[in-house]
Structure formats: structure tokens, C-alpha cells
């Protein structure tokens, strides 16, 4: 990485991002699934 770049976020914060991505995906898939059930 560049020495003059912004400071890196901590590993723990990055891991929180990764978990949040996967949780959001699960929620979106659940919403899409529920969407079809509600309107079918």
C-alpha cells in the first residue's frame, strides 16, 4: 500500500465489514423470497 495513503482500518473493523456484507446478502435474499410469497 502507499505510504502516503490514508491509514488502514483495523483488521477487526474490516472483519465487521465482511460479516455485514454477508448478513446484508442473507437479508436481501430473504426479502426477495418473501416478496414472491406475499404477492403470489
Amino acid at each position: 500500500m502507499r505510504p502516503d495513503g490514508p491509514p488502514d482500518v483495523s483488521g477487526a473493523e474490516m472483519r465487521r465489514h465482511y460479516v455485514l456484507v454477508l448478513v446484508c446478502e442473507a437479508v436481501v435474499i430473504a426479502v426477495l423470497w418473501a416478496f414472491a410469497r406475499i404477492f403470489s
Binding site: M1, R2, G5, V21, L22, L32, F35, A36, F39, S40
Partner: protein, 581 residues
């Protein structure tokens, strides 16, 4: 097209080219030209990553898919968020710390020159041809729908893109991508608004969704495990995961985007942006198509959307039969409209169940008439593409649904905005590809093999020439590809042959410390051969192409590790001293 729409399209083109050309001051040396001196913010890079994926054919094809088959297509992207997380943990930091220009440069540091060169040549061949297809596909659709001259349409899409990419480099690509994404999303939202306004009195968003649900258009998630189906939860999540890993981790057109970010974490954030946004964005594009379907329940659509063969049918001996089918289609449309209205107005659950049955039968009748029309077109013209269907729509019609709606149903001004959005989608993906093709040509081939000791100024000139040459090449390929449907398929299939295998080489590099250049090179060739056999063998060719990617990875890992062990394992060479870059 009205003169105001022409003005909107012309304004868009002038604005984008001007915006791209004013970025030339950031491209005074080769690192600035190809990597923006690794200075871009994560959000701009993230938008550019998404922009490179959304080609014009994605925009019109995905809305058409939504019309024909509902939201099912969204499952194709279920592997993407997980792929982004895996890449953020593994390949992204490797690429950053290696300070490479191309993904393939890393392969030389880890393995040898021949593996790097083979990977680079495969990318150049596949992406060079597919860039021509990306120019050709929207040009063909726009020329048919709007009766434009095809070669001029190809040049109108390809040349402005090549010019601003050639002079402005990656800065021009990224910052025009940001604006082009705004044009596309703005255009889609305007189209959705127009669609909802165009629905009859008493049919609002809940009623439209109720009808779409009754037609099965909202079935987004299919949990069946069937490897022959591309659009299921498991194919998308597992098969799609490998495709997305290969695309975002090994394809220079994507890797180069996040190498322009300020730091490794900004690069990671740019990828995670796609992880958050891609599935909802694809769902929005598909939902637009679903709303077009609902719109055409109350406004009569053409029996077949692709108008190319209308003249041939009209002059054939079966013209009378086709006109009778059109009359039959009109009656079936009226019956379906009445059934849709009854469904919306049903007072209770029992009434809705009865109305849904009537509506389903009426919709099936429309499908039956369309199938007969498609068979007639196939018989008269010999166009075998009418044999396939997407959902309940003849396959060739899918890409013409949304452009037909745009040009015949949208108000003046909005037509121009949507045509500009189609141009934007085409140009943003072409620009990203031209830039990455030039990078790999100059960094992996010209600077590494042909002329290794020239000045930075020399490489900068060659880079601009290479960008222009690839732009010209894409336009020439587009001229030929436009008339050859099967060639387009061959080009797309060629890319899928080596994607998984290329990913396998990177996994081999990271996961097997004893893997060497001989193992990687032979493994890559074996992986490509295995996928080619798998894709064409009668017993396996029905399996969805998404599963070719995991196969390629497995074959490369097996053959690569065995050959590495047989040839003495990894040579004890310091990684940082092996490549000139």
C-alpha cells in the same frame, strides 16, 4: 426519434467526451495513465467496477429477462458478495503489495514468464473479441429499432469511447463511469416512473405486484439443486461464486479498477461496494422488466418484439397466415387484459383465486400464439434462434422488449435519456475494457518482452496508441460480429473455457507453496482442455456453464500440484527479484 431526443443524446455524447478529455492532465506518465497514480477514492472505483460490468446488452437484456422470466435471473449474482469478501482477504492485498500493473504480472513473480504470457494472451484474445461484441450488440438493436445505419451506430458508440480512453487513460474511464452510472440509474428510475404512470386507473404498485406475482414473475429464489439450471439459488451461490472470483480476481478489466484505489483498504471497500449494491441493483433492473410486462398487460404489445423479419414475412406466401395470427393475438390480449382487471378487482381471497386461474389461462394463450408466430418466422426465414425461449418469450425477442417500450411508449425527452443510458452502458464497459487491454498489451507484452528498456514517455505514447488500436479493432470486430450470431456465442463460450482455469492458477499460487512454473503452465492448459471437453461432451454439455468454473479450478489444482511435485517443486528464488514488471 424527435429532435429533442436527438439533442439529449448529442448533449450526453459531447458531455462525456469532454469530461473524459479534460482528464488528460492526470495521464502524463505511465503509472498515471494506467493506475491514476493509485490515488482514486473507493466510491469512484466502486462505481467504476460496477460500470464496467453493466454493458448495454446487460441493460436491455436484463430488463428483457425480467419481462420474459421475472426476477429469477438475480440468483446469478448470489455468489458475488461472498466472492468480494474472499478477494478482499486474499488477492487484493497480494496485488497491492506486489505493486503490479496487471494481475498476470503477479504470475511471473510467483511462477515464470511463460505462465504470465499465456494468461495475458488468453485475456487479450478473449477480451479483445468480446469488446467487439459489446460494441456490436447494442448497435444492432438500436439500428433495428430506430432504423439507424449499422456501421455508423457502431462508430457512434465505439469511436467517442476510444478517443476519451486513449487520451485520458484510467482517470477518464473512472470519472466518466461515475457520470454514466448516474445517467443509467436516473434513466431507469425515470422509466419506472413512466411505467407506473402508464398503468390504468386503479392499478397501483401493490396491484401491479399482485399481477406480476400471479404470472410467476416475482419468483426470485429457487432452492432446487439442478446443475442444468443456471438460475437457481445453488447454481448462483456456488457456481456463481467461482465465476465472480475469476472475474473480479483474474480479469484485468476488473483488477485494474481496484488497483487505482488510494490504499489496499480503499481497494477492498470499492469491491465491497459491489457486494452491497450489485444484487439490489440487478433486482431493480429486473423489476423494471417485470413492470414492462405488467404495462403490456393493459397496453397491447407487438406479437413479436424483434421487427427484423417483418418485411420478409409480409412478402412471403405465409403473410396471410401471419396476419391471422396477429388477429388471434389481439383477441388473446383483450381476454388477458380483462382477466388482469378482474384479478385486481377481485373482492376477496376466493375471488382472487378464481381470477388468478382465468388470468393464468389467458396468459398461456398469449404464449401459445407467440410460439406459433415464432415457429412461422423460423420456417420462413430459417432463423433457428426462434427455436429457443426465455421464460414464455421467444429468445430473439428478449433484447428488443425494453428498446421497443422506450421508443414507442415513453414521452419526448425521456426517449433521448434512455437511448443515452444505453449508450452510457455500452461506453462505460467498452472504456474499461480498452484501458485494460492496452495495459496488458504494453505491460505484459511490449515492455516485458519486446522493448524492455525504453523511457516512460515512450511507453506512454505506445499505451495511447495501443488503446486507440484496440478501439479500432473492437469496431472492426463489431462490423463482422453484427451479422454473425453464432460468432458472438463462440466468443462468449471461449471466455468461459479459461476463466475457471485462470482462477485455478491464482489459487495454486496462493495455496500451494511448492507449486512451480511448470505445474502452473501445464495445469492451466489442462484446465482449459478439461472445460472444453466438459462443455462439448454430449453427457455434460447440458450442465450450466457456471459449473465449468469450479471444474477448471479443480483440474488446475490437481494437475498443477502433481506436475510441480514431479518437476522438483518450487525453485528457491526470491519473489521480489524475478520480474521487471
Amino acid at each position: 426519434m424527435h429532435i429533442i431526443d436527438w439533442a439529449v443524446v448529442a448533449t450526453y455524447l459531447v458531455w462525456i467526451v469532454w469530461d473524459g478529455l479534460r482528464r488528460t492532465k492526470g495521464a502524463k506518465e505511465i503509472e498515471g495513465y494506467f493506475l491514476a497514480n493509485r490515488s482514486l477514492p473507493w466510491w469512484a472505483v466502486g462505481l467504476s467496477i460496477m460500470a464496467t460490468q453493466i454493458s448495454a446488452i446487460t441493460l436491455v437484456g436484463t430488463t428483457g429477462q425480467g419481462y420474459a422470466d421475472g426476477l429469477r435471473f438475480v440468483q446469478f449474482y448470489f455468489g458475488l458478495p461472498l466472492a468480494m469478501v474472499i478477494l478482499s482477504v486474499t488477492l487484493v492485498p497480494f496485488f497491492y503489495r506486489a505493486r503490479v500493473y496487471t494481475a498476470y504480472e503477479y504470475l511471473e513473480r510467483r511462477f515464470d514468464l511463460k505462465t504470465r504470457t499465456l494468461a495475458s494472451l488468453l485475456f487479450l484474445l478473449s477480451r479483445g473479441l468480446s469488446c467487439g461484441v459489446i460494441v456490436a450488440a447494442p448497435a444492432v438493436i438500436l439500428s433495428i429499432i430506430l432504423d439507424w445505419n449499422l456501421p455508423l451506430t457502431i462508430l457512434a458508440i465505439g469511436m467517442p469511447t476510444a478517443i476519451y480512453t486513449m487520451f485520458g487513460g484510467v482517470q477518464a474511464v473512472t470519472w466518466t463511469d461515475v457520470k454514466q452510472m448516474a445517467v443509467i440509474v436516473g434513466g431507469l428510475l425515470a422509466a419506472i416512473t413512466a411505467l407506473l404512470i402508464g398503468l390504468p386507473h386503479g392499478v397501483g404498485i401493490p396491484e401491479a405486484l399482485q399481477i406480476a406475482g400471479a404470472a410467476g414473475r416475482l419468483d426470485a429464489v429457487d432452492f432446487r439443486f439442478d446443475m442444468r439450471q443456471t438460475y437457481t439459488f445453488w447454481s448462483g451461490l456456488l457456481g456463481g461464486l467461482f465465476l465472480m472470483l475469476a472475474y473480479f480476481g483474474c480479469d484485468q478489466s476488473q483488477v485494474q479498477r481496484y488497483l487505482t484505489a488510494k490504499s489496499v483498504d480503499e481497494g477492498r471497500h470499492s469491491l465491497l461496494m459491489s457486494a452491497y449494491v450489485k444484487i439490489p441493483l440487478q433486482a431493480l433492473v429486473l423489476l423494471t422488466g417485470v413492470l414492462v410486462f405488467v404495462f403490456y398487460l393493459f397496453n397491447q404489445p407487438p406479437m413479436l418484439f424483434k421487427p427484423l423479419h417483418a418485411g420478409t414475412i409480409e412478402q412471403s406466401a405465409r403473410a396471410g397466415e401471419y396476419r391471422e395470427l396477429e388477429t388471434e393475438f389481439g383477441r388473446a390480449f383483450e381476454a388477458r387484459r380483462a382477466a388482469a382487471t378482474a384479478l385486481v378487482e377481485a373482492p376477496d381471497r376466493a375471488g382472487r383465486a378464481a381470477a388468478k386461474g382465468t388470468f393464468t389461462a389467458a396468459n398461456a394463450e398469449i404464449t401459445r400464439v407467440r410460439s406459433r408466430a415464432a415457429a412461422l418466422v423460423r420456417d420462413v426465414t430459417g432463423d433457428d434462434t426462434y427455436r429457443d425461449t426465455a421464460g414464455d418469450t421467444p429468445r430473439p425477442d428478449v433484447n428488443y422488449v425494453f428498446p421497443t417500450f422506450i421508443t414507442t411508449k415513453l414521452p419526448i425527452g425521456l426517449v433521448g435519456l434512455m437511448i443515452a443510458a444505453i449508450f452510457a452502458a455500452a461506453m462505460q464497459s467498452i472504456a474499461g475494457e480498452l484501458n485494460s487491454l492496452a495495459t496488458s498489451t504494453v505491460i505484459d507484452i511490449y515492455r516485458r518482452i519486446l522493448r524492455p528498456s525504453e523511457t516512460d514517455a515512450h511507453y506512454l505514447i505506445v499505451s495511447k496508441l495501443a488503446t486507440g488500436a484496440w478501439g479500432l479493432f473492437a469496431c472492426v470486430v463489431a462490423m463482422f460480429a453484427a451479422g454473425l450470431g453464432s460468432l458472438i456465442e463462440v466468443v462468449n463460450r471461449f471466455g468461459s473455457f479459461f476463466y475457471g482455469s485462470l482462477l485455478g492458477v491464482f489459487v495454486l499460487a496462493l495455496a500451494f507453496r511448492r507449486a512451480n512454473g511448470a505445474g502452473a503452465f501445464v495445469g492451466l492448459l489442462a484446465g482449459i482442455a478439461a472445460v472444453a471437453v466438459f462443455a462439448s461432451h454430449p453427457a455434460t454439455k447440458g450442465i450450466s456453464f457456471l459449473w465449468q468454473n469450479p471444474l477448471g479450478v479443480i483440474v488446475v489444482l490437481m494437475v498443477g500440484s502433481i506436475v510441480s511435485l514431479m518437476t522438483g517443486g518450487r525453485a528457491p528464488v526470491l519473489e521480489s527479484s524475478k520480474s521487471e514488471g
